[in-house]
């Protein structure tokens, strides 16, 4: 199945080189948001909050074809 991953703030550096921060990923059926995170090489604990189709979700949730997974890290600055 195909899903789109959107990376925000400090996570944009994990986008494939020269590529956009909106990444189309081919994942096996039943794959979770966590699988998408490791497919992009984002180390454990760095992914921040996951949003599936703009709604906060757990990384362990199984994804479905066509979903958009946003990964937003906490921002430190003020």
């Amino acid at each position: 199945m195909k899903v789109t991953i959107k990376l925000f703030a400090g996570l944009r550096k994990f986008a494939p080189e020269g590529g956009s921060d909106e990444i189309e990923l081919e994942l096996p059926e039943g794959a979770t948001a966590e699988d998408a995170v490791s497919a992009l090489g984002i180390p454990e604990g760095h992914a921040g909050a996951a949003f599936i189709n703009n709604e906060r979700a757990d990384l362990t949730v199984s994804l479905a074809e066509g979903q958009v997974v946003g990964l937003i890290p906490p921002l430190g600055g003020g």
């Binding site: 925000f8 703030a9 400090g10 909050a49 703009n54 921002l75 430190g76 600055g77």
Partner: protein, 388 residues
């Protein structure tokens, strides 16, 4: 044909029934339901005292403003003025506009007050304040009542830096009556690219002192309370106790979790803002009604994973945008107006100029605001964030 005042009033009485002040008092005691008490006197008369819950539309503005004030033509209206004459004439105008159920209170406010019925007085604005807040008074969502709420409000800002600067500026301009500011830092020249409260000649001055100078120069109505200290588990509860709303514009994760937990324990609303390079986030955490910071980010980022502005740089204008949104949300909370950002995370990317608004949810397993909380008192936040 010449007609006297008596002729005009006679005609008006024929279509607008009069009721006594005792009858109005009895109606209020029964519960007004959908009925509206309409005060048609001048604003100055209304300010000096009026019936509780009365709506003010001066006779001179009646036809212009009544459809906004009372949109439904079948709303029962009890009109009154000072002596019972203007309300009778106003009542006739309302009938002509199609309002079906209008009565006029005979004797008016003068008889009402003289008979010992209850009355109330709104916030008394000075002539300077009437000028200063005149554009707020024109907005039905603010008005004199809302402005009085702003003047009575107490807001505590965490940080007088990039976010705290625009927030403090606009809250002071809006007339938020008490603004507390916590910051232990002094002004550095590298701050001036974004921290607009401060100036070149104040380099080296404590930030809270510089903030106080700027804000009191802008609006003498505002009481600025400086706290030149670092917020910690030791002082946070006493610092927050006196304030209605906490605005988090700090620059580190231990403080963010500390502010969150203290807000949950004290049931204070936390208006959150945070920034990184070209991107910012803001939301409103209302304990036990919406999610908290830990529902959004249960774990702090690993040390070094989310660098500060000093480490990673920041576009100077960015905190201006996020801090202004925090100020808007704070003002809306005070007024009880509009739809707040509670339960929604606004993420702004200034390079793409894109705003994403994400839906948040309360985490039933949240360690502070969940169903079975495991954190019930303040902890060591440096340790929690792996900084020891």
């Amino acid at each position: 044909m010449k007609r006297s005042l008596q002729d005009v009033l006679k005609d008006a009485r024929a279509i607008v029934p009069e009721v006594s002040t005792d009858e109005v008092s009895a109606r209020i005691a029964e519960g007004l339901g959908k009925a509206v008490l309409l005060d048609v006197r001048e604003k100055e008369e209304f300010r000096e005292g009026h019936l509780p819950e009365a709506v003010s539309v001066p006779r001179g503005f009646l036809e212009i403003q009544i459809e906004t004030a009372i949109p439904d033509r079948d709303t029962p209206i009890v009109a009154y003025c000072q002596g019972g004459t203007r309300s009778l004439i106003a009542g006739r105008a309302l009938k002509e506009m199609g309002y079906t159920d209008v009565v006029s209170m005979a004797g008016g406010y003068g008889v009402w007050k003289g008979a010992g019925h209850p009355w109330t007085q709104d916030h008394q604005f000075t002539p300077d304040q009437l000028q200063r807040y005149s554009r707020h008074f024109l907005l039905p969502e603010v008005g004199e009542e809302g402005q009085a709420k702003l003047l009575d409000a107490k807001v505590l800002l965490i940080g007088a830096g990039g976010l705290g600067s625009p927030t403090a500026y606009y809250l002071a301009a809006a007339g938020v009556g008490t603004i507390g500011i916590v910051d232990d830092d002094t002004v550095d020249r590298s701050n001036l690219q974004r921290q607009i409260l401060h100036t070149e000649e104040r380099v080296g001055m404590p930030k809270v002192e510089s903030a106080q100078l700027t804000l009191q120069g802008l609006n003498p109505d505002v009481k600025v309370v400086p706290y030149q200290e670092r917020i910690s588990s030791e002082n946070v509860m006493s610092l927050f106790a006196d304030y209605d709303i906490i605005v988090d514009g700090c620059d580190n994760f231990p403080t963010r979790y500390l502010v969150n937990d203290a807000c949950v324990f004290l049931n204070k609303t936390n208006v959150h803002g945070s920034i990184f390079q070209f991107e910012g986030q803001t939301t409103v955490f209302k304990p036990h009604e919406g999610p908290c910071y830990r529902c959004l980010f249960p774990e702090p980022p690993p040390p070094g994973a989310a660098p500060s502005c000093a480490e990673a740089g920041v576009l100077g204008v960015l905190p201006g945008l996020i801090g202004c949104i925090q100020a808007v949300e704070t003002v809306k909370l005070i007024l009880g107006a509009g739809r707040g950002l509670m339960g929604r995370l606004l993420h702004l990317d200034t390079l793409a100029m894109e705003i994403n608004t994400m839906k948040l949810r309360r985490d039933p397993e949240c360690p502070v605001c969940g169903e079975s909380p495991t954190i019930t008192e303040l902890i060591d936040y440096e340790e929690f964030c792996g900084l020891h």
